[in-house]
């Protein structure tokens, strides 16, 4: 019997009368493509974003290859520009933003609150189709020869001076935005209306809290970028004069609209990562999350104040100096609490019973990278430092620490944590740990030199650069090679586990949370009997001292 069933008769005992799990009920391609089961849709997203991740990663590899020499002799300037644009566009809009919410959120949110499915299952299927349609447009623009505006699409470069397929890519991003909105809406309604009896707000796992917070950002911020990008397409097509000064427009207006979305978007990337880590750390320390309520409130708080700091992307663009000082101050007010959240995880493992399995190793790597990414963000929020390192490699290093550290490591940690639940199979533990360590090392070798490069003054999006920057660039590219292995490796052994892995038990980590109280993989409606929740989140029993 599972631990939960032993302790509480209300919780269904999954292994009795186990019905067919969601993977095995039907097998046809159609049953997957038309599925309204949140779990299957989560898996569809997982497959799609993995594909996009590799597209983005190949572009990154080529960028790093090209930067080994300072004179730009490997590609033309145009090719380089198209590579970093597609890398940015794909990584931001087709990997990072949907990554944790659309995969783990879809799969786990209903299970974690004891629901049968999301509130609007058909809408959920629709949102995957919307996502794929948007991606199709963006991929077409690449096939037709690429775009060279950078993922930020600043006007008037993107409206009046680029003759690549900008509108096609923009339509892709606009369409993908609707998929975010639909997902966010679905999550919010689900959390409000579908919680199992006894699942009060303060019994929800932090992961659910962060999904809820992220959904608010999806709903409130996405319409702004949608509007801004639609205006951009209209400007390109009809020359309406919103952003192009030659037509009486204002290019700085676009920057405001863009960052009003794109700064909160950083928290779309960061909060889910925090959610995943807040599940993993207690599970592998066998201890309740330190300051649970505080972390829950902080997630909502961060999602709110992140709307007030967009101006820190524009300290040197001619905005009013007093506005800059205000945005700088507000950025400190957001950055400090998010950075010190890691103290909670540290306090959680204090006096715990630590198991350093793969998810935990990833989580530790995450914490290291996230701390560095977060604190260098404070440097950027400091006005006179930003005046020097704005738009240099310092920024590139910072956002990779936050995005790769904060999203990719959390994503992979979560993937290893919930893999047995998703697939019913175990992967090879030793390989898992090696991949996590490799990724941490490769990551630091790749991106740490870029802080130095940036402070030395190498601007970002530079294909040709002065020769004295070469050494750091070579180090960075060498690191990227390690990193490339670290990405391919889990891909290989996780796929391998699907056929050859050991069958996973229902609760391989002996973890808490409703998702571990059902079978691996779960049945169609998640639970055999609807669960009743009479326990707190992270209900790890205080251990009898071993001493």
């Amino acid at each position: 019997m599972t631990y939960a069933a032993q302790r509480d008769a209300h919780v269904p005992h999954a292994t009795i009368d186990a019905p067919k799990d969601y993977l095995h009920i039907t097998h046809t391609v159609k049953s997957w493509l038309l599925s309204t089961d949140h779990k299957r849709i989560g898996i569809l997203y997982l497959i799609s974003i993995t594909g996009f991740f590799f597209v983005g990663a190949v572009a990154a590899g080529l960028l790093r290859l090209s930067l080994v020499v300072p004179d730009g002799s490997i590609f033309t300037n145009d090719t380089y520009n198209k590579l970093f644009t597609i890398h940015g566009v794909v990584m931001v809009w087709f990997f990072m933003i949907p990554s944790i919410p659309a995969t783990f959120g879809n799969f786990l949110l209903p299970i974690m609150i004891g629901a049968k499915d999301l509130a609007f299952p058909k809408l959920n299927t629709t949102s995957w189709y919307v996502f794929m349609t948007g991606a199709l447009f963006a991929m077409l623009s690449v096939l037709f020869g690429g775009i060279d505006t950078g993922w930020t699409f600043y006007a008037p470069l993107s409206t009046a001076f680029s003759n690549t397929y900008v509108s096609l890519a923009l339509v892709g991003v606009i369409v993908v935005g609707f998929s975010s909105i639909l997902t966010g809406l679905n999550f919010i309604v689900t959390v409000h209306t579908m919680r199992a009896p006894g699942m009060t707000w303060f019994r929800m796992p932090i992961f659910v809290w962060t999904m809820y917070a992220v959904s608010m950002i999806f709903l409130l911020a996405t319409p702004v970028i949608t509007m801004a990008l639609i205006l951009l397409v209209m400007e390109r097509t009809f020359k309406i004069g919103v952003f192009d000064p030659a037509l009486g427009g204002d290019p700085v207006l676009f920057e405001h609209l863009f960052w009003f979305y794109s700064h909160p978007a950083v928290y779309i990337m960061v909060l889910p990562g925090m959610g995943v880590i807040s599940e993993i750390v207690p599970a592998f320390a066998r201890k309740k999350l330190f300051g649970y309520k505080f972390v829950a409130y902080a997630s909502i708080g961060l999602a709110t104040i992140t709307f007030f700091v967009w101006g820190h992307h524009m300290f040197v663009n001619g905005q009013s100096d007093y506005a800059s000082v205000t945005f700088s101050f507000l950025s400190f007010a957001v950055a400090v609490p998010s950075a010190v959240k890691v103290y909670n995880w540290t306090a959680t493992i204090h006096k715990g019973t630590l198991v350093l399995d793969t998810p935990m190793v990833y989580a530790m790597g995450y914490i290291g990278l996230f701390v560095i990414g977060g604190l260098t963000g404070l440097f950027l929020a400091t006005l006179s430092i930003d005046e020097h390192v704005h738009d240099t490699y310092f920024v590139v290093a910072h956002f990779h620490y936050i995005m790769v550290g904060g999203t990719v490591l959390a994503f992979l940690g979560g993937l290893h944590y919930w893999w047995p639940k998703f697939t019913g199979r175990m992967y090879n533990e030793a390989w898992g740990r090696i991949s996590a360590v490799l990724m941490f090392v490769g990551f630091n070798v790749t991106f740490a030199p870029q802080f130095i490069l940036g402070y030395l003054g190498m601007p970002r999006r530079y294909h040709v650069y002065p020769a004295e920057f070469q050494l750091m660039n070579i180090m960075s590219s060498a690191g990227a090679t390690i990193l490339a292995f670290a990405y391919v490796f889990p891909f290989v052994y996780l796929l391998y586990s699907l056929w050859f892995g050991k069958k996973a038990p229902d609760n391989p980590w002996d973890a808490k949370g409703l998702e571990w109280m059902t079978t691996s993989p779960p049945p169609l409606h998640n639970f055999i009997k609807p669960p009743v929740v009479d326990f707190e989140a992270y209900d790890y029993a205080a251990r009898v001292p071993e001493a």
């Binding site: 470069l157 000064p245 649970y292 700088s328 400190f332 006096k351 290291g368 430092i385 738009d391």
Partner: protein, 314 residues
């Protein structure tokens, strides 16, 4: 000429650069102090409380408001010192000094064009005197660019249709990089050159050697004639149009009751789009020069108007 591959710190050619370095070093020290507990704590706990290791694991509350408030507010207050330091430096950087040397810069895909007040112009290279306040007065002809000099630790966006400024006082002679730091299209990464900081005497010599027949202002005066501005604005005959003598920097009363100060932007805009900001007491008959007069000629015209002395108070 720019140092060696092994340098991990950029040259500092101004007091501002040195202070920026102090700021970032001090801030780094603080962040190391704040993060040390995390890195040390995590490693130490991970070893000490591993499963199978004997340790005292009795714990009380898993939540403590007092501790949480301390580690939220403590670091916040400590970092605020750096916010204030950075903001104060920034405001100083943004407050243009009175007087000094003004150099005009025009950014365009993909080169920088600089104009010294004496009319000397250069492309991608920039010569400035050491120890003197230099104000860069900048505008773009097409997309957004940004003017960046790492050894002075300053950069500023260069926008189309709008002047932005940046000032510095270099205190070390030498040659330093000059970059475009805002992505501006195909040749963005080669849009840059060298700034050479020279002894004042050497700068004067350089100005003489790359001499030009006419200062910016007198070139502007010639343009003022050739574009036909003088036909209406010349001399004391204010019948058709206001005299522009001494206009620069003065308040101008508008038709709708507002008043604007006649700065560079106002004058440039009035030349290009005279139908904006109608002036009180005059019939708008001036033709629009949008698309007719190029950015560098606009700079010359403004320089000329600026040079026409002080108008008697109205």
């Amino acid at each position: 000429m720019f140092g060696h591959a092994l340098d991990i710190w950029p040259a500092a050619a101004s007091a501002n650069a040195v202070e920026t370095d102090h700021l970032i070093i001090a801030f780094t020290v603080l962040t190391v102090l704040l993060t040390a507990p995390i890195f040390i704590g995590f490693t130490w706990f991970a070893i000490r409380y591993r499963r199978g290791v004997k340790a005292d694991r009795r714990h009380g509350e898993v939540r403590s408001s007092a501790i949480e408030m301390t580690w939220m507010i403590g670091p916040f207050l400590l970092t605020l010192f750096f916010f204030a330091w950075g903001a104060q430096m920034f405001m100083r950087d943004k407050t243009l000094p009175a007087g000094g040397l003004q150099i005009d810069a025009i950014g365009r895909q993909w080169m920088w064009k600089f104009q010294h007040p004496g009319g000397q112009s250069e492309i991608n290279d920039l010569h400035v005197p050491v120890g003197e306040n230099v104000t860069m007065h900048m505008i773009s002809q097409d997309v957004i660019h940004a003017f960046y000099i790492p050894s002075l630790r300053i950069q500023m966006d260069v926008l189309p249709d709008r002047y932005t400024n940046l000032w510095f006082k270099a205190n070390r002679t030498g040659s330093y990089h000059l970059f475009c730091s805002e992505y501006c299209g195909t040749d963005h990464s080669v849009m840059g050159g060298t700034i050479t900081v020279m002894e004042p005497a050497a700068y004067q010599q350089w100005l003489g050697a790359s001499g030009s027949d006419m200062s910016l202002a007198s070139a502007g005066e010639a343009l003022f004639q050739s574009y036909g501005c003088s036909g209406c604005h010349q001399g004391q005959s204010t019948v058709r149009a206001p005299s522009l003598v001494g206009l620069y920097g003065k308040p101008v009363p508008l038709e709708d009751g507002r008043t604007v100060v006649a700065d560079d932007s106002y004058i440039r805009d009035k030349i290009l789009n005279p139908n904006n900001n109608l002036i009180a007491g005059y019939k708008q008959v001036m033709p629009a020069f949008k698309g007719v007069i190029a950015e560098d000629d606009l700079l010359r015209l403004v320089a000329y108007i600026k040079s026409t002395g002080v108008r008697a108070p109205m």
